[in-house]
Amino acid sequence: MSDASAAGRFLLGDHSDRSLTAKIADIVLGRRPRRGWLAAFGAAAAFTVLFLTATSYLFATGVGIWGISVPVVWGWAITNYVWWIGIGMSGTFISAALLLSRQPWRTSINRFAEAMTVFAVAIAGMFPILHLGRPWFFYWLVPYPNIMNVWPQWRSALEWDFFAILAYLVVSILFWYVGMLPDLASLRDRATSRRAQIFYGLLALGWRGEARHWQRHETLSWLLSGLAVPLVFSVHSMVAMDFCEGITRGWHSTIFAPFFVAGALFSGFACVLALAIPLRAIYGLHDLITIRHLENVAKVLLAAGLVVDYSYLMDVFTSYYSGDRFDTYVTFWRIAGSYWPLYWGTIVCNALAPQALWFAAVRRSPAALFFVSVVIIIGMWLERFMLIVTSLSRTFLPSEWGMFYPTFWDWAHLAGSLGLFAFMFLLFLRLLPMVAIGELRGLLRARSGSGS
């Protein structure tokens, strides 16, 4: 009985299998896109063109179009990379961890969170390649027998990163697609136009809902979830090792891997909220994405935020405790040097703003939650940039010290990547089921008290 009441809290309204299927499938199969969707899609496409333009110019000219130079050789491209991949950590994590812990509130938010992961990781994966001086040689990261008789540098964290991103992207896509298979079959069977029938028919692989298939599907989902959780932690740890394997002060610290993982989950949960709140309002999903869903994500967000706060404290403490003059200096430089607005901006956005989530009134107000999550997403970008630029601008040799100033093309790649994400996400909303219909049916069944 407790199952039924738990399910009832996360699925409101008078629904049947048929009405649930119709509600989600008709968003996709409805003939004409909404006017708002078209406007957003147009804007996203424009920024995608900006991204392509900036990238073409980058390929033609070189990384000098950005503000990077000696000593700050990693600029916004690496900031964007770490930020995007951090956002990409939480979709798969939230979906897998909530499945493993049997949380009924997973069902309405897992699909678009997984989509968010796939797109964010795909964008993140581009930035290190763009940042290569000669990006057309990126395939040298792949170990393959070649006539040049060279191999990748196996002892470098950058090489580990390549394997980590590859594995994570493929596993995330598989996890997303496997979960979507039954819903693609629903779309195939509801579609009335020939084109839609062929499109979804091919994607659904002929899924027909046989009991044995469902049983294997269930087993596979559980096992993939079990793999996805450690994968998330390992992948973002590799990203952190890109930093801490170097002897740059401010980076060379064993705290970096857990610090980065906490930050990644933090920004990712914020992004889940920032997407869920508008989706729910625009597509009228109030029955499926309830205030309780938002409240639960907000609590997880607050917990992740506290881990991030602890990391900030420990980062300062370990640099003091190390007794290393250079390390202590970089910490002072972060807090009170020329880049102080970055540091304090980070603290305001990531440490102070989430404290509002202690209050139930904030957790239950979609507008306030949306505001807090956007502030956190911005704060996490500031944090990534602050960590990169403050350490690099103060090297061991004072004669080498210098500042970083972004150029137009830095802005173009940042804005363009946001546009590209929006472009892919809007296509996802229009072409694929944004909520897992098959799992909602399970929730409906649990709510009616059957299946014991």
Binding site: W151, L166, R190, R208, G209, E210, Q215, L231
Partner: protein, 181 residues
């Protein structure tokens, strides 16, 4: 009705998941052995009722995939760093195993996931874009709100009239013939 037109089997629709599970139990109790069930969601225990426990375990396939890709990744690194292109970096051992573990771990996880997905699809017999059941118009509901039980024509106890009577007797809403390829 001629048995010619039911080369695949008889498909019966039931009103809910619970009725389908009950019908599956009754079909098994009546001695039918080639019975398939179709539902728009995972119904706990339905597959076990009809088909017993699965013989090939997906977890085992995934373990094999994990070991294969993990060991292969380590082996490539070992071969490259020890035999094909040995470089002495500050006297460190050529087989720098701590540095070779991260790619091997990532590929272990990837191997498990790939083996799981590919293995599941092979066991399911998917992709299979056409199936005799898709010719039954009502079957389109199997992906939204229809619960179906199909007794295959190959079942030793299958007899068109008697089986149809049996299905109607266990509360089937509608019984259709499935023609086959």
């Amino acid at each position: 009705m001629s048995s010619e037109s039911v080369r695949y089997g008889l498909l019966a629709e039931f009103g809910s998941g619970d009725r389908l599970i009950r019908a599956a139990r009754e079909a098994v109790a009546a001695g039918y052995t080639q019975v398939e069930a179709y539902a728009p969601l995972h119904l706990e225990g339905l597959s076990e009722t009809l088909h017993g426990s699965p013989r090939i375990r997906i977890a085992l396939l995934m373990l094999l995939g994990a070991i294969t890709l993990g060991v292969a990744t380590y082996a490539v690194q070992y071969y490259a760093a020890v035999f094909d292109y040995p470089i002495n970096v500050g006297g460190r051992p050529l087989d720098s195993w701590p540095a070779f573990i991260p790619p091997a771990v990532e590929m272990t996880l990837l191997g498990a996931a790939l083996a799981g997905v590919i293995g599941t699809l092979l066991l399911d017999g998917l992709p299979r874009f056409h199936h005799p059941l898709f010719d039954v118009p009502r079957f389109a509901h199997a992906s939204s709100d229809g619960f179906f039980l199909c007794i295959r024509a190959g079942d030793p106890r299958f007899e068109p009239k008697a089986t149809r009577r049996f299905l109607s007797g266990i509360d089937a809403l509608e019984v259709s013939e499935v023609a086959g390829e």
